[in-house]
Symmetry: C2
Subunit: 453 residues, 2 copies
């Protein structure tokens, strides 16, 4: 169990993310944009793997789920009807001493008195609600109707398009509509790296059903989602299911589970699985005047479907993968020298790069051309990193930090120079165990494919 905050570990992970090109601060050269992050070359691949796997198991491999992709800019009426315009807020206080604006429910206390975390001042205003939605002016005229919001969640565009999707996708209840996309919340105090940021990405499924199926489907989706995290390499014992108590649930929800992970900064929510009843569709039907009901061909009844929503954060999942993967160990090299090995133990399915390809020497044409040949064979099927510079040991270490599960070295034995039996073989090195084996080049593709998918 690792639920005690470990800020040193977190700092090391953040530092590796910048050093190796997983994640950078947005607009960094201009001092940074608070609460916004850019994914670098390794980060973008890791994130793509998370999203692609979610889409694969939640949409493409299912008969009962279709996808959609709604716009980020959202009509004000949508977020009025959903309740966001009136109530999507956090309590905020001002520090009268340093003028900082602070989230009222996250203030440190000293001897029972709330303090400004910035300056230590105790002269704070009363808490008042601060709406978390970003708004913008749309179109060329400056009237209040021209306000549009950046969506605070992807879910609402699914509800608003429910009828269009129902009419075109030929699905019967129960069925789901899934979406991956950016959402925005003007957090008063963004924190914990990419965990609580102002711009983030969600993977949401709205699974519509008959009212009597709701509670059962809530259980079903909680289990499915736990399996998802296990399948991307987060062990079950690092995941915790919190049954959200009645008092903490949205008033319209009949049941909500939070799936939590033990981050270095504490146990925090990765995903919420909520049974939202028919609240959202009803709100939009009433506000828009457009029918959002379902006609049951068997019972000849019309009703508004209920919905169960597994809502996951892409960035939080990426952060869980990074935190879970980070490891340091002491290893001893051939010369008996000890050193610290930093290794990102990603599940091969999630690793940004699947295999490193290394010719033993960069100035040997035969080794290099053989290595290039292998790259060309593997690349259509997986992400390959070719590296010819530095000692082999250093090249392995660089890929350990990137989390690359396999390394291939092309040496003189590959060329058959030492032992004819080894002609056409390479050294395959496994990241976690550091074990090496000789593998025939012709066996590489199927062997690697079996281990990364």
């Amino acid at each position: 169990m690792n639920s005690k905050p470990d800020s040193q570990r977190m700092e090391k992970i953040v530092s590796l993310c910048k050093r190796r090109g997983f994640i950078f601060q947005s607009s960094e050269i201009y001092g940074g944009l608070n609460g916004c992050w850019d994914y670098g070359p390794l980060g973008v691949e890791l994130k793509r793997n998370v999203k692609d796997y979610w889409w694969r198991v939640m949409v493409r491999e299912r008969d009962d789920v279709v996808g959609m992709d709604g716009s980020i800019l959202t009509h004000r009426a949508v977020l009025k009807a959903s309740g966001h315009e009136d109530t999507f807020s956090d309590p905020m206080v001002d520090c009268r001493t340093c003028k900082a604006r602070l989230r009222a429910d996250q203030l440190p206390e000293k001897n029972g008195v709330k303090q400004c975390p910035n300056c230590g001042g105790k002269d704070l205003t009363e808490a008042r609600p601060f709406n978390l939605m970003f708004s913008t002016q749309m179109g060329a005229s400056a009237n209040p109707d021209a306000i549009a919001y950046l969506r605070p969640e992807t879910a609402q565009s699914i509800f608003v398009q429910f009828k269009n999707v129902l009419d075109t996708a030929r699905k019967k209840l129960p069925f789901g509509i899934a979406q991956i996309g950016k959402a925005f919340r003007n957090e008063i105090n963004p924190r914990n790296f990419i965990f609580r940021s102002r711009e983030f990405e969600q993977m949401e499924l709205e699974y519509f059903c008959r009212p009597e199926q709701g509670m059962e489907l809530l259980e079903y989706w909680k289990e499915e989602r736990l399996k998802f995290y296990e399948n991307i390499g987060i062990p079950r014992d690092k995941l915790h299911v919190l049954t959200v108590p009645d008092a903490d649930r949205a008033f319209y929800s009949k049941g909500t589970y939070d799936i939590e992970y033990d981050f270095p900064f504490g146990r925090q929510e990765l995903e919420g699985v909520a049974y939202r009843t028919d609240y959202d569709l009803k709100q939009h039907q009433e506000a828009s005047g457009k029918p959002l009901d379902y006609f049951d061909e068997e019972t000849k009844q019309r009703f508004i479907p209920h919905v169960v929503e597994p809502s996951a954060g892409v960035d939080r999942t990426v952060l869980a993968l990074l935190c879970n993967a980070y490891d340091e160990e002491t290893v001893t090299d051939e010369k008996g020298k000890s050193e610290t090995r930093i290794v990102m133990r990603f599940h091969p399915r999630m690793a940004p790069v699947k295999v490193g390809v290394f010719p033993l020497l960069k100035n040997n044409e035969q080794l290099v051309s053989k290595a290039r040949e292998i790259v060309a064979t593997l690349r259509p099927h997986m992400n390959v990193f070719y590296d010819e510079t530095g000692a082999i040991g250093r090249r392995y270490r660089r890929q350990d930090e990137a989390g690359t599960p396999f390394g291939l070295t092309i040496d003189f034995e590959t060329l058959g120079e030492k032992d004819a039996a080894l002609l056409g073989t390479v050294t395959l090195r496994e990241r976690d165990s550091m074990k090496q084996e000789r593998v025939k080049i012709s066996d590489l593709l199927p062997m690697l494919l079996a281990r990364i998918t």
Copy 2:
């Protein structure tokens, strides 16, 4: 050649997009949000195929390109330095009669007098610049420093992160940084469906090089990008390369090509390939005070790289695919009855659904279970649509409209009831030719894979 506007054809395409779930108006039940669109179940898969193929050929299959994914919210200083805050505008006029705001350079003229397209009025104001960037207030305090923009292009975050990527990705010139993501422009008059919208998605590559390589790489990337469009099914003779004249180019560009397509509403730009010199990096180096130069290990020189930028629009590419695919033909059924067949002739690589699977009868358990078995075999490898309702002919037609390249029918011959030699075979129907052949179930997967990748 099809460069004469054909508004009737365009209307049919827009209508099919809504009817079959490719594209809906954003926030439609609330009257719509002008210039914003939602992709439905078929549209989202089509768009994913475009983006995935771009990422595959532009990033994963290349040694010299890495990816990134920057935030949409952008520090004001970035867009000040890039020139967008001061000059990214279109000329706007007001109609004094109906109060419409109009793009001054797109007004209809009657007898040489400019008119309001809305009310026909001729009492228009002088043109003035209207900045196209969406701004928002970031953080809890309301001071002007808290303004952030929604990025008007993805390119700037690549320039701003150039040093971070260079330091982590171990690449030498020439090399590129690629990004796919949303961008936003507050168009005065959005139009032509998803062609000119306020929220759109870009696929941009910034390919950095030595100054002396710029012109040659401009040619190289123009050719590569033409190949891309051909590989997704847009014939070369529908594409046109416009050499942007000196007077129309950005002042810092040494050469720009527009790749254009003959849309039903006229010949319009799909992609720009621009040699932007060292303008952007220089601007950001100067404004931020952070070095954005490159150290050449061989010549021991430091310089700011030049850049060639192929910048494609995701939505425009999707629209070109839709326009290119749409076809109507008169076919005669077995009973000699003529009807119009609407068929979306997508390249199989781009088609949202690759194969439809149809048991001949839905109330025959053996046919249904055999069909389900085939679905289970194919689904891990491609998008499959299972349909058991209606006459086979109607099911084929529905998939024609969705652009599904292959249909499989499981009939009594599959079960070996008519001819033992046909046991374990299905009917494979090809969308474009409507030709049917008997195929062994065991041959299906490799045969289909070969035709869709």
